[in-house]
Point group: C2
DNA sequence: TAACAAACAGACTGTACGTTCTGTTTTATT
DNA sequence: AATAAAACAGAACGTACAGTCTGTTTGTTA
């Protein structure tokens, strides 16, 4: 862990150590005129990752800016430079997570056949949503009720996601020679909700096996609602 | 001695020490001596209701003790007398909610035939879980990750609920001449999770109709998983 | 190179929060 | 009645938080 056990007095014994002739602990022997764009992006990513970790571990109300800064091993100053207010960081988290999740989905689309992909959808959703980043988004969603700015932003992002996500699924279904149910959107929403609920429950219950069983049930249900996607079915009356 | 601050004493115009022969600020007329057990229970209930309302409306981190006291129209002093710490109140909320919810379920069991009850289960679950009290419990669940005492208490209560709840369902199924599926527990958990997820989503999306559609899908799924419970559609189409 | 701007570091501050404390009113007990 | 205890009221307190500020280092540009 990390010690934050420093006396508040000026411990500035003689800290004038700049321009080290030798880079000590950093990249060895390689001079690095790191562009500031890179530096910015680095600390931003560190902060976002740390925020996600904290949100998933201790929840929103216990995720203080100081805690995030420590987790990210970033100074308070650097943090406020990149994200002046806590909200700015939370907003960045939401955007980053949705970006990454979209990438994740896109990858699974690319590497699987349409039929296969649909079959695996519940498991894929579970992979994405039950991760810390998924929990973090839930936390921010809930906390956004006391913050209009955050709520508005979240809503717009969410709307985008929902539309494109269901659009994808419809396309995939058609690629597999299927058509969506008339209540396809409700089904989709139900599945997302179920996965969310399960990941919530997994938060403070160690029963991972039980939760995965429920995901399996969800897969089975998918197979029933969209019969042709079931694992074994080529002929039937 | 501590009378140093009366900067804005508009109410307390002059001295104290009066034993007014006429009760001026007293409640209108008939003031029967309320037993203190009743008084205690009243303010406790007011506080619990207010806490539920606040949790559901603004979330845990924005639910301050002051806000709850105002919502309950109870003085800070009375509040701390009943619940010395914030945690005490949160614990009380959890217990009260589970008590009330159990009562709700029991009532629906009593007034419906077994078959009917099973059919309506998703809707009943939605009724219970999507209420403010259901949201409040979710909020406390999430916040409990940064508070061991709360987490432990919650876990034990939850464990009780889960066992008795599934037990009930199995009994109901048998009353209807059905047997549970081997993965019945996973199904049950999945349904609870789905309802929770849906109610979460309903929090910051006004689309109540859409959510109810998803609940309907859930009912349909229940009918498929437990065929005999499906609504008999003798002559429809 | 110099001058500037961006990135960083960390102390400082106002405030809002949960808790504690002192004092008052209401009910119970004798 | 007197006395004690419970319920209530609200000020006072310490603290931890988010936001701000001043100063330093590092990269960019003229």
């Amino acid at each position: 862990m990390k010690k934050s056990n420093e006396p508040k007095a000026a411990v500035r014994t003689s800290p004038r150590k700049q321009v080290p002739a030798k880079p000590l602990t950093k990249k060895p022997s390689r001079r690095k005129p790191k562009p500031q764009a890179q530096r910015s992006a680095d600390t931003r990513n560190r902060l976002i990752d740390a925020a996600i970790a904290c949100l998933a571990r201790v929840g929103y109300s216990a995720t203080t800016v100081t805690l995030v800064a420590e987790e990210a091993e970033v100074s308070r100053g650097a943090m406020t430079h990149q994200y002046p207010a806590k909200n700015d960081l939370m907003l960045a988290v939401v955007e980053a997570v949705y970006e990454r999740d979209g990438e994740h989905y896109r990858r699974t689309v690319a590497e699987k056949s349409p039929m296969r992909w649909i079959q695996d959808l519940p498991a894929t959703m579970w992979d994405v949503i039950s991760q810390p980043s998924g929990i973090a988004v839930i936390e921010i969603m809930l906390a956004s009720r006391s913050d209009r700015e955050l709520a508005d932003k979240l809503r717009s992002v969410q709307r985008n996601i929902d539309m494109t996500a269901h659009q994808w699924i419809v396309e995939r279904l058609e690629s597999a020679g299927l058509r969506d149910r008339p209540d396809g959107e409700a089904v989709h929403r139900l599945f997302v909700a179920a996965i969310r609920g399960l990941s919530l429950e997994g938060l403070f219950r160690r029963d991972r096996a039980g939760v995965e069983k429920s995901v399996a049930v969800l897969s089975e249900i998918l197979g029933i609602l969209y019969p042709a996607t079931a694992v074994r079915s080529s002929s039937q009356s």
